[in-house]
Symmetry: C2
Subunit: 353 residues, 2 copies
């Protein structure tokens, strides 16, 4: 072994590209590989003197266990996979950050995959991850039948879906109160006396969009008001267009519920362009938080999703399974949203929110 490495003045210099292995340590310390292994893993059944000798060598050579070998042997890669729909979306990025934090606490690495909300890409990623023997899988499922997940689950891979449920597969799931959140927002607008409240939402097939629309309709029906919605505005531009469609009509709505970030931004642009005032001419509430919401004037009222908690809870649910918690049935956790009341809904300005 020393053939490929050199010890110079107490500093071990591994050959280029060659890492120190347990064998190197064992040889250097004059013990068996197994004993070295025991010391590294902190097993108690080692002579103290020997242990400290080995520890010294480990330190000096800078030995690092090879996790690939460990995983191969031990059937645990200490790695989990995350397939997210779009990391560049701040909401998702915060989820990812929270998940990464939990993984770290639990000594696991996190492989990040961005499916761009595409089912085939997701499928490919799930393959990549299982090939890497991940211990578990967290994902924001793409729309469509996530059939590929089923085989993995049957093979014993714990899977947790979050933000939206996986279609056609029974997995643990962590969601957000989309419907209740939308209902709260709509009711708040109704409470301000509005009777014509428009809904600008994104792709109708998206789970979150559907649920939010349901909540909106629920609130309107309870108040005996007519729904007035536009869907499929999945970009700022389309959101702007849809909003203008509403606001330029003869009998225009006096309030607007923008069901996601993009439509909210589009709505703001439209309102600005038409020279209307918020909230005097149109009151607005959005769904999902953004950094500038309290910088805008008037301050923007919105339904806040607990992004970090969503990620954290999903990760914890996964690690629960890894720890052997045996819930035979898939679990479902739904986290509450929070209506952050500021000024765009028509409420008076607060001191310093």
């Amino acid at each position: 072994m020393v053939a490929l490495a050199t010890i110079m003045s107490g500093v071990y210099i591994p050959g280029p590209g060659r890492r120190v292995t347990l064998r190197d340590v064992a040889l250097e310390a004059g013990v068996s590989i197994k004993t070295a292994s025991r010391v590294v893993n902190g097993e108690p059944t080692v002579n103290a003197a020997m242990a400290s000798r080995v520890a010294e060598v480990v330190e000096r050579l800078g030995y690092r266990p090879n996790e690939l070998a460990r995983g191969l042997k031990g059937r645990r890669s200490r790695t989990i996979g995350l397939v997210i729909a779009d990391v560049s979306n701040p909401f998702m990025a915060i989820c990812a950050q929270a998940i990464e934090g939990v993984a770290r606490e639990r000594g696991h690495a996190l492989i990040l995959c961005d499916s761009h909300a595409d089912l085939r890409t997701e499928d490919a990623y799930v393959g990549l991850l299982t090939q890497r023997q991940v211990d578990g899988l967290l994902l924001v499922p793409a729309r469509g039948h996530n059939a590929h997940l089923e085989a993995e689950q049957r093979a014993g891979l714990p899977v947790v879906a979050f933000d939206r449920p996986a279609e056609g597969v029974r997995t643990d799931t962590v969601l957000v109160e989309n419907r209740a959140g939308a209902r709260d927002a709509t009711e708040h607008l109704i409470g301000h006396g509005h009777e014509r409240i428009a809904f600008v939402g994104d792709v109708r097939h998206f789970y979150t969009a559907r649920k939010r629309l349901e909540g909106y309709k629920e609130a309107l029906e309870a108040a005996n008001l007519e729904p007035l919605h536009s869907l499929d505005a999945h970009s700022v531009e389309l959101g702007e267009e849809a909003t203008k469609g509403f606001l330029e009509a003869p009998d225009r709505p006096t309030a607007l519920f923008a069901a996601n970030i993009l439509t909210a931004l589009g709505a703001l642009r439209a309102i600005e362009d038409l020279g209307l005032r918020i909230p005097e001419d149109v009151a607005v509430i959005g769904f999902d938080d953004f950094e500038l919401a309290h910088v805008l004037r008037p301050r923007f009222t919105l339904v806040r999703q607990p992004a970090a908690e969503l990620g954290r809870r999903a990760a914890e649910m996964l690690f629960g399974r890894l720890d052997g918690q045996d819930h035979p049935e898939p679990r479902r956790l739904v986290l509450p949203t929070e209506l952050v009341v500021r000024e765009s809904c028509g409420c008076p300005a607060q001191p310093t929110p």
Copy 2:
């Protein structure tokens, strides 16, 4: 092997938790393991008939190579590590997304680590990553002496730093024109006739903050103007405070350069609170893009960083090394920024930017 698995009506059902291995394939196809391996790896030296028979079995059993075993044997994990300072920062998230995309194109998995810009956390993560035998490392270095990187590099691990250089270590680096970008912005304000231009920046020890301050000073000096800067505003609140400090002074500046996102938001809040108008009372230019910049009124002028390209180029530089490109010296790539002129600087409104 069939002891732990069953073949029923053509469908192979692996035992719980047990995955199909090359042995299973070989047994089922009646060939040697090595032959099965050859087929899987597309080696040309296989009899066509045999190859298709094996391929069929691979398909039917749903065989997936175990990347851990491959990595253990082949000394290539096909995995790269990314240590980023803060994924919840949209700029970083976009970098991460771009990197992930390149990794995917190259058939590599990406392990994501969030150092929270903390050197010790970074150190721990680098350890975690090398234990996982990553083939290369991309990172946004934390401030301080990144000594731990040196040992890894010596052991043959390619390292690419991006957004900021690693201190005390010589690595490939991809940066953005912080200085030139800040100079451009400042010059633009000078071009509008401003003579008192304040700089609101974040932590003075940060590389990016320093470079931007340099650029700002350069522009002022060239125009024989007095610099007027405040530093260490590393939150929206502090940015707001710092801005108010400037604007409430007797001889207040007529223009403001906010050197990062947080200070830009803080500045906007401060200006709003003081009842000043943009750009009539104070012209403003920021550094770094944000989703709402063109939704704000007036539209916000800023220096845009090529986030996706930064990530992509860094990843490509890393894969270049992995492909064996042998540049003995560390390389450094500096990407240009772009001054996105809108209205907050005092320029007239554009039709539809």
